[in-house]
């Protein structure tokens, strides 16, 4: 064998070796990223499994009736989820009733009415506010909003509706300041930036050509919004609303401060109540005994299932939107 061929052979081998190493590294990195992705998936499974396991003692004792019993007695160790579930649904409903129309109104203002120079600053301010931690809204609610409502708003409402059949029980009782209504209001303030930001984003996906065509045949701004923008973005708005609802249902700190933490199902919006997340936040570290802890975890499981369904619907709707051709 001549030396030249020898050298070339050695070089080939060298290259082959480096190549092998290179591809081993590639395989390793591939597997590594794959496992990370899998971990993200397993996280959800893990959360569900851990919550189910933790709530087994409570579910074994109270069966599925746990979710529909109005009972919370740590002394007798008798628990049911109805009062927190009721509070969660009512506060979230109040929040959405306020935040959705206001949010859509702001979005209409931002996309159709606002002077161009103000659009960006207001838009950015709203997006920044969506990032403010919920505990800030919580202490603001406790120290500012609740006393204000107690002094100025609640007595007036209670007085005004005193003699009207349904409304008198809805706005009844001593004005505590804190309670279901205040919690709903704080939640509304908190989800408002989310609903506004998403609605504005989907409003902006409407092709300018379509809007201009409508303006061109003489439509007023409202008619353009009503007949062009909203039909075009219906699914996106619904997705955004569901996303806001998911947040409102699961929000903890903003609510815990102002709801009063009483396991009651009252007819009055001014009465104290509790939500699932507020119950867990304020009682978990003080819970004595397995059954108490387990009942709180079962509440967490219930909350996770409810928000999972809502959020999954929201994502499916928003996904359908992004798959539509022309967007």
């Amino acid at each position: 064998m001549n030396p030249a061929a020898d050298r070339s052979l050695a070089r080939h081998e060298g290259i082959a070796l480096t190549q092998k190493r290179v591809f081993t590294v590639d395989r390793l990195f591939h597997v590594f990223t794959y496992l990370s992705a899998l971990a993200a998936l397993l996280l959800l499974v893990g959360v569900i499994v851990a919550l189910i396991e933790g709530s087994l003692p409570a579910l074994a004792k109270f069966k599925f009736g746990f979710f529909f019993r109005d009972m919370w007695d740590p002394v007798k160790e008798d628990f049911g989820a109805l009062a927190p579930l009721f509070g969660t649904l009512v506060t979230a409903a109040i929040a959405m009733i306020i935040a959705v129309p206001v949010g859509i109104g702001i979005a209409i203002f931002l996309t159709e009415l606002c002077p161009r120079a103000l659009r960006r600053p207001i838009g950015i301010a709203i997006e920044l506010l969506a990032g403010v931690p919920s505990i800030i809204f919580g202490i603001w609610g406790l120290f500012v909003l609740a006393p204000f409502l107690q002094k100025n708003v609640q007595p007036a409402l209670i007085g005004a509706f005193e003699n009207i059949p349904v409304l008198s029980s809805l706005f009844a009782g001593p004005p505590y300041g804190i309670g279901i209504a205040t919690a709903g209001l704080i939640l509304a303030i908190m989800v408002l930036p989310f609903v506004t930001a998403i609605t504005r984003d989907v409003f902006q996906t409407v092709p300018a050509m379509q809007k201009e065509a409508a303006y061109g045949v003489g439509c007023t701004t409202w008619e353009v919004v009503r007949h062009i923008v909203i039909p075009h973005t219906r699914i996106g708005i619904l997705g955004g609303v569901m996303l806001g609802l998911g947040r409102a249902l699961g929000e903890t700190m903003a609510v815990t401060f102002v709801i009063g933490n009483a396991h009651e199902i009252g007819t009055s919006l001014f009465g104290p109540g509790t939500t699932i997340s507020a119950t867990i936040a304020s009682e978990f570290t003080e819970a004595v005994g397995d059954l108490y802890t387990s009942s709180l975890i079962a509440l967490g499981l219930l909350l996770f299932i409810v928000t999972f369904i809502v959020l999954a619907c929201a994502r499916l709707l928003l996904m359908r939107l992004s798959q539509r051709p022309g967007l």
Binding site: V25, L44, G103, I135
Partner: protein, 282 residues
């Protein structure tokens, strides 16, 4: 012939709606401004030099938030170090190796749901898997809880940003004989760096204000502690405890802490925004 009555009505409806939506905007901005105004007024009134140099006091005594600030920095930093790489690598898989894998859409969907899952449930989960087996609350469990919140945020932004990198860039690198991992590190990551950093910053901003997942993992600690195996103080947990208390001293400190968190979060958000817009210009 123009129908004057109809025209007048249409104009009227339009005016009413315009007034209502302008009113909505004014109301929304007013309320949110009110929240911030109170926060700044109360927060700056409670903010003193001692806030940064002294430990959290027992009720009725003066003190600061030093241990809570340090605890928050440690918990947030460590959780980012744990969670961000995991999210980034998972996002890398979804955008690079597994772009056409059937697993990818599933992960994306689950991740989007986890992105807005109630954080208190994450706290319960970590309580079950770490606090119960270990038998006590610890900074470690708080770090894991926060890291679980970091993962979906960084995963989402990483995947989105890598998906924006033009395939021609990758193909050019592959044609030169580079293996995939080098293409990812030298081409994709470089092109998407700004966006990926934005995601990490947003994640840091999000967890620095999170309270619910810390309540029964890291708990709280009235004293200075850097022991990861023991409960650790954090600003949000301290604010929660102090604001709910009847002591004015504690309430003042709660406002000061709330102001610090808000400033940090706003700053991080602004910074992330600047980074993102720089990325877009490139």
């Amino acid at each position: 012939m123009m129908n004057r009555a109809l025209y007048a009505r249409r104009r009227m409806v339009n005016r009413i709606i315009a007034a209502l939506s302008t009113g909505a905007a004014a109301l929304g901005i007013l309320v949110l401004a009110l929240v911030l105004a109170t926060l700044f007024a109360e927060g700056f009134a409670g903010l003193k030099l001692s806030t940064f140099t002294e430990m959290t006091p027992p009720p009725g005594n003066s003190g600061g938030l030093l241990n809570a600030i340090a605890g928050s920095l440690i918990l947030t930093g460590a959780a980012t170090l744990v969670g961000a790489p995991l999210g980034i690598f998972a996002g890398t898989y979804m955008a690079e190796y597994g772009r056409y894998s059937r697993l990818t859409p599933t992960i994306r969907f689950i991740n989007d749901v986890l992105l807005s899952a109630p954080s208190i449930v994450i706290g319960l989960f970590v309580y079950e898997i770490m606090v119960v087996p270990m038998g006590h609350f610890s900074a470690w469990s708080g770090i894991v809880a926060l890291a679980i919140i970091v993962i979906p945020i960084t995963l989402r932004t990483t995947e989105d940003m890598l998906a924006l990198v033009p395939s021609q860039l990758r193909e050019a690198a592959v044609a030169l004989g580079a293996p995939m991992w080098r293409v990812i590190w030298k081409v994709s990551y470089r092109a998407a760096l700004g966006g990926m950093l934005t995601g990490v910053l947003l994640a840091v901003a999000r967890i620095s204000g999170e309270t619910a997942p810390l309540l029964f993992t890291a708990l709280n600690n009235q004293f200075w502690s850097t022991n990861f195996g023991a409960p650790m103080a954090s600003l949000p947990a301290t604010i929660f405890q102090f604001a709910m208390s009847p002591y004015p001293d504690w309430q003042r400190l709660a406002w000061a802490g709330a102001l610090l968190i808000t400033l940090a979060v706003l700053l991080l958000n602004v910074f992330a925004r600047v980074l993102a817009s720089r990325q877009r210009q490139r």
